[in-house]
């Protein structure tokens, strides 16, 4: 079952800033790191995200525990270094951090396979954030919607999304592993995306 983290403080109250806007603790931490090199904020972020990163590192992969720890350290250092590039108005902290973790994991895989390439995973990821207010708002709405709807996905669809995203498997690898026809895997992904209302715009 998927449990989605909430954006409340320790007492369960939503975090509210001076203007009465709800802000999320992790965006606040990133902003503090960027502006004040705040180690306490970094520690809070570490305690929450490092265990998720370790889980992500060990998901369906052959990474050893040592490599998983190495990855956690590398990602957290990147978070510290890049915090100034995070814009709380445009991006969600969790998506921003997940993207760094995903790219670092891909680079680590390639290093371990002695892949000789001038490109890093970050070079081939989509980096641009829109400046247009309506696009930003639209993205925020869709993010909240995805978080809500993901809990309602049937297990067989959620399981495949976890394999694709967390284990980094291609559709055909998932099909081999679950002993399902490729078409079934593809159609479950398609159905899941439909339920989450993620679609190509026309």
């Amino acid at each position: 079952m998927l449990i989605v983290a909430n954006t409340t403080d320790d007492e369960g109250n939503p975090l509210i800033d001076a203007d009465g806007k709800r802000i999320d603790e992790w965006s606040e931490c990133l902003t503090l790191i960027a502006q004040k090199q705040d180690r306490a904020a970094f520690t809070r972020l570490f305690r929450h995200f490092a265990p998720l990163m370790k889980a992500f590192a060990l998901s369906g992969s052959t990474l050893s525990a040592n490599h998983a720890d190495e990855l956690v350290q590398e990602v957290m250092l990147k978070v510290w270094q890049k915090a100034a590039g995070f814009d709380a108005e445009k991006a969600a902290a969790s998506t921003w951090i997940y993207t760094i973790a995903r790219n670092c994991r891909t680079d680590l895989y390639r290093r371990l396979q002695k892949f000789d390439t001038p490109l890093s995973a970050e070079d081939v990821s989509d980096s641009q954030e829109s400046d247009e207010a309506f696009v930003v708002l639209h993205q925020k709405r869709s993010r909240d919607r995805i978080r809500g709807l993901i809990k309602e996905l049937p297990n067989d669809q959620a399981q495949i999304l976890v394999k694709v995203y967390m284990e980094g498997k291609t559709h055909s690898e998932v099909s081999g592993e679950l002993d399902l026809p490729l078409g079934t895997v593809k159609s479950r992904v398609r159905l899941a995306l439909q339920k989450l209302q993620i679609q190509l715009e026309r």
Partner: protein, 216 residues
């Protein structure tokens, strides 16, 4: 006007980070130029983040935290300036080339086509620029594997339609076509192949045994 885009399945594998490097590079150049695909990729990335947050956490000891804290002093925070590149060549391609398109090493295939192979390090995929002279025709060929094409400049047409700058196409095994560049300008496109082409045009069939995937 971009009319052809990667499908949702490809964008999903792209955002999950499971596409082979050369294919991911091709998709990313399109996505960075196409706001529509950028928005979809953004949502797919938010989906990944939701799954990430729902993982069962694995304990990380304080020794790890302390090890990272000890390194923070050495890691200067990075200041981010806008990349603001003025070049019309996509940034990713610039990383794979020295200089401009005209500085690359090109191999001529007949009079209308020349090809320059770029090294991505992906051992399974050829990543090459095709330069087709205005009005030039590529001999009819079929695909033994999957071919991704992204039009960087100009455009071309084949029996199925006509394609312009920014368009992203996928050809599957068995698709036969003979693209012709638009009459008005030269066409430069990026092609990513996982198996060599096979010419069906009788004048060029002799080349087939010599066509190998150049992953460089």
């Amino acid at each position: 006007m971009t009319n052809f885009h990667p499908d949702l399945e490809l964008l999903t594998e792209y955002s999950a980070g499971s596409l082979p490097l050369a294919q991911a590079a091709c998709v990313s150049i399109h996505v960075n130029q196409c706001q529509r695909c950028q928005r979809t990729a953004g949502q797919l990335c938010d989906l990944g983040a939701s799954l990430f947050e729902a993982l069962e956490p694995v304990a990380v000891g304080d020794d790890q935290l302390n090890a990272v804290l000890a390194k923070l002093d050495d890691e200067k925070p990075l200041e981010y300036a806008n990349p603001g590149s003025t070049s019309k060549t996509p940034a990713l391609l610039q990383r794979l080339m020295r200089g401009d398109f005209s500085d690359l090493t090109w191999s001529n295939i007949g009079s209308a086509l020349r090809i320059s192979y770029l090294k991505t390090g992906d051992p399974q995929h050829e990543f090459a620029l095709y330069h087709i002279r205005a009005g030039g025709r590529i001999p009819q060929h079929t695909h033994r594997g999957t071919e991704m094409t992204l039009i960087l400049e100009g455009g071309f047409s084949d029996a199925n339609g006509s394609y312009h700058k920014g368009d992203f196409l996928v050809r599957r095994p068995g698709d036969v076509h003979a693209p012709t560049a638009l009459q008005s300008e030269d066409c430069i496109c990026l092609a990513v192949l996982d198996a060599p082409l096979k010419f069906t045009d009788w004048k060029f069939r002799w080349m087939n045994p010599f066509l190998k995937l150049r992953t460089a």
